[in-house]
Amino acid sequence: MEEQFAKLDIRKNENIVYKRTDLLVDRPLSYCPGCGHGTVHRMLMETLEEMGLQDKTIGVSPVGCSVLAYDFMNIDMLGAAHGRAPALATAIKRMWPDRFVFTYQGDGDLAAIGTAETIHACNRGEHFTMIFINNGIYGMTGGQMAPTTLPNMRTSTSPYGRDTNIMGFPLKMTELVAQLPGTYYVTRQAVHTPSAVRKTKKAIRKAFENQKNKTGISFIEVVSNCNSGWKMTPVQSNKWMEENMFPFYPLGDIKIDGVLVTPKAETVKV
């Protein structure tokens, strides 16, 4: 069926304008169909390839669905205990200050069990990059409520929706760390449309450029889907994310070159 529309005069190596980067290991990703984790992995690896940093970068993978990130990213990586990636990255960057170092963490990892490590690494102004995949849920363990779960959002541990009277309010970790003097670049992006993906890649590039100047933490939140946890199809989950996640977690830069760019009042309002 496909071959009917194959354009064999165009399908030549010299005409390739896009292909999967070699920095992603040639094996299937372990993620559910349509999961944003895969897209972020690819943008990260494309950026390192374009910057020529494959053998100068050390990544730290988390606990969560992306626990196996070291199996997919063809760079040096270490796996941290749940939530401790910023502590490990701190040690790596201090031992190897000329290396480019990043953490890759989910919201359960970065904003629940690892809250202390996140806040203190940001407050100390360590010189690495943090990539934070916020899907508002514990994807890996079966869709339990996370600190980032939206009010009234259903999860396996909030089957009637998150009741903020009992379960508290969602945590805007990104706005929070933006207030700390040790963060230099703080932004919130997404990867559900081509233009969103391009912006995320630009943000990743900026974060790694910042590492050259040892300016402090560059923190990139990517609001992402968890279609399995949310119990939707991938396309439905992307739409749900636009309608429900983005109003609460608005996309855009929050701090650029050490300067806050959004009004502070907005960051405490729920």
Binding site: E2, D9, I10, R11, I16, V17, C32, G34
Partner: protein, 76 residues
Amino acid sequence: MAKIKGDIVINVERCKGCEVCIASCPFSTIAMTKEVNGKGYHYAVKVNDDCTGCMNCAIVCPDGVITVYRAKVMAE
């Protein structure tokens, strides 16, 4: 007159049938098969000749399974 033409190749055995690429194509060039691949997923295929090689589908594909080609061709 020269015209920009594109083509895509989908690694169907790695496609997970998420359909995210379909929504991103401005020319409705991609659709899903009725058949399934070795993993049991319906997979994406090219269904028309209108591709311009804009790369949208490849950039947004979570599994990175789409290769995009683009070239100037003489219009018939």
